[in-house]
Symmetry: C2
Subunit: 476 residues, 2 copies
């Protein structure tokens, strides 16, 4: 029986409840890949997590004792020290930092204002990687585009000397899917504007809140195109620009950014493990990224993930459980500026990637998990996936389908190397209210929701690591 096909049929049928019960019932009696003892341990881990874990205390400690930890900065180095100390104190095996070098971007000062017709300050922040403006700032008339698509359609040379503004109307999405679409305005927009002659670039923040917090995040300059300074406006300030520009009224603004690049800066990934009792060389990866943007204290992005996955590892350790395979916690460095830690990890672990059984990262805030997907390529993998789903259904998590392999951004390099992933989809309706803003602080997190995430990570990691199931198709 190909459970994968059954599952797909069930998804298509859209009658989740009934079909799921039938499927899970079948899986539970066959119990492929997981022993009854292993399943019993998983259930204990899940229930224990729901009574309270260390996740919130971990995020609180990280955000209080380190706070903002921009990739490549001295603060990120302090975060690695914090992680090494914390992981060592918790008694994990193989605690270590795996350093790498990177070019670090630094924000020194920034601001923006409307000069005419209605002078007033604007809440704005430089996009990560933005070049600086001249010391006196950059003054110019605004060219307003409702969407990135409209900017793309602007004639060549039509924006000479202008400061481009690109808006949009991003709505909330539980799965965060609108981010991928609207985020192009942030990443690709600056070079598109510059290619048409623009001198500066503003976006409406890629965020769903209506507070005066601009959302930063990396831009990507294209080779061979002038690099222009680029900033995000908070949503209320973007509204302001759009209101003033109504009826084609000229809007003159000034932006100033003082930033710099520091080549050959240090970053690193921090690792801790529970060593496998039978096949320690086979590895189940869980983790989160340790770096954060500089504006907030990185509680939801990604202190929450650090807390969830570290607490999951701790839960298993405190239960005195040693799985067949090794469970490896990876706290990646420099995620925000281009998955640099994940790429370094892939390079440094090239020789053992074939023994990476599966991976999952927690990097979507502190919301509850509502869906579970995996890109298993085997029948036994499908069967174990359904075992995991069976154990997570009581805490509100349903198995589902995913358009593309996932599991968290830091797994992309591993996915490219053939490592399968499992994804615990969190409810992200509020995530882009806070994402990459000064308001990303620990008070926004809910301890019970973190604990539900811990339960899911512990059940998944334990069951896979304690099995001999493979999720990869055999090489022909």
């Amino acid at each position: 029986m190909d459970l994968r096909h059954l599952l797909i049929d069930w998804r298509r049928a859209g009658r989740a409840g009934l079909m799921l019960t039938a499927l899970l019932g079948a899986a539970a009696t066959s119990a492929q890949g997981a022993s009854r003892e292993s399943l019993a341990h998983a259930e204990v881990l899940r229930n224990r997590a729901l009574t309270g874990t260390s996740a919130m205390a971990i995020v609180t400690s990280l955000t209080t004792e380190v706070g903002p930890r921009l990739a490549g900065s001295e603060a990120e180095a302090r975060a690695r020290m914090w992680a090494l100390q914390t992981l060592t104190a918790k008694g994990f095996a193989g605690v270590r930092s795996e350093p790498f070098e990177m070019d670090a971007w630094q924000r020194h000062d920034e601001g923006a204002e409307v000069i005419a017709p209605f002078p007033q300050p604007l809440a704005a922040t430089a996009l990560g990687g933005s070049v600086p403006t001249p010391d006196a700032g950059l003054l110019g008339k605004v060219a307003v585009f409702e969407t990135l698509e409209n900017l793309k359609r602007a004639p060549a040379g039509s924006l000479t000397g202008r400061i481009v503004y690109v808006g949009h109307a991003m709505q909330r999405a539980q799965d965060g899917s609108s981010y991928g679409y609207f985020n192009d305005a942030r990443t690709a927009g600056p070079s598109i504007a510059a290619s048409k002659g623009a001198a500066g670039y503003f976006i409406r923040s890629v965020g769903t809140d209506s507070h005066r917090f601009p959302h930063t995040g990396s831009l990507r300059y294209r080779e061979g195109i002038p690099r222009i300074p680029a900033m995000a406006l908070s949503n209320p300030d973007a509204d302001q620009i759009e209101r003033i520009a109504t009826d084609n009224q000229d809007v003159t603004v000034r932006m100033w950014v003082d930033s710099s690049e520091l080549p050959a800066s240090q970053s690193g990934n921090v690792i801790a493990e529970i060593t496998g009792r039978e096949v320690p060389e086979e590895i189940v990866v869980i983790g989160a990224h340790l770096d954060s943007w500089d504006l907030g204290t990185g509680a939801i992005d990604d202190g929450a993930g650090v807390g969830i996955t570290m607490a999951a590892l701790e839960l298993m350790k405190e239960a005195g459980l040693a799985p067949r395979r090794t469970i490896r916690l990876v706290l990646w460095g420099a995620e925000e500026v281009g998955l640099l830690g994940a790429q370094a990890y892939r390079e440094q672990h090239e020789a053992s990637l074939a023994q990476h059984v599966i991976g999952s990262e927690s990097d979507f805030g502190g919301g509850r998990v509502w869906k579970l997907t995996a890109d298993s390529q085997t029948e036994e993998g499908d069967a174990l996936f359904l075992e995991i789903a069976h154990l997570l259904a009581p805490i509100g998590i349903a198995p589902g389908s995913d358009d593309q392999p996932g599991g968290g951004p830091d797994l992309y390099p591993l996915i490219a190397a053939g490592v399968p992933t499992l994804r615990l989809h969190q409810d992200g309706r509020d995530y882009f209210d806070l994402h990459h803003t000064a308001d990303d602080t620990v008070d926004k997190l809910d301890a019970a929701a973190l604990d539900q995430n811990v339960a899911a990570f512990a059940v998944f990691a334990w069951l896979v690591a304690d099995s001999d199931v493979t999720f990869r198709a055999a090489v022909e």
Copy 2:
């Protein structure tokens, strides 16, 4: 029958629904003070307001075209220009500015950070009126007090060279009453700390949100005590200080404030009227304050009040109604820094204060009105009050009692001169989320809620102005 006593009995009985019906029924049939025609007009005004008024457009215009308008600043002068132009365009009578001079405080730069044990930036803003720090900032160990009362109990000289922090745990209150209590930490706190030797002063923001917006607001230095720089921390940053200071851990912080005073600056009140058809010298005052703090665009404090009261006047004008008495809209200047416009108004109108029939200011944001109180001293005033209540009950407003005469802060000088007030109590549960922060912007307002306020102001102002009812006890 003394309606006042009945009303008080009813309040005490706590059986609002039943008693109110009986009372209002009696009042409606006797209809003291308001003609049937006048009541009919009031009902039309109320219903028309609910279909949509200009209130939101007015606030949007003010906050977009002027934005922040700190007392005594060039921006506040632009706000007066905006008001004069807007009021003239709407065709009101007696549109004018009544200037006065004041010492204007200016904020130039500010910031704060934890230096040790966990270096990281703090979201902080100078309190209005704060003296500057030295250019390099002020560095010191923090002395943490849970409440202002605890600070008061600190021994003399015990805080020499320290930077005091005062916390609290202000909760939401529909009537805003917790503000008055906790606000002492902001106004009186700096001099109390300085009197015991402190070099600098932080408060947990007097606000109910958990965002990284510090709440500014005026402090009041006491004569003869050294003036020390004083700032507010956002609630998440106050949490941070309290967490770090747990177990008596030393916390070293740096604060920097660059501010100055500009003596003999210009401010002013802006006035517009609907002239009374029979006794134009008798005046019903409605209004709001035109100045705002400099961090936000002053939408809820007090653009909303400007929009509500101006729209109420416009509603009556557009209906072609001329009341017996004059209805005067006053947009006060320099409220935030000590009711300077209100004091100037009292001085400039001393001769006509006896003919000020009643006053009401809208200065508590954009929430719906839920309660109506007045400090009538006459039976006919009580009767008209109940007529007003009768007409406002269908839009959710119940008559109630108030501990002390009110009607809005800019009426305090008039109250002291014997002018009665009526107060339309707004739901302020969310008001202190935004109050005096950068986040006080127009996107937070709800047009339908503003319209409900307009309905209440129009009904009240019309009925009183179209009557010959007096609310003042006859002078013996």
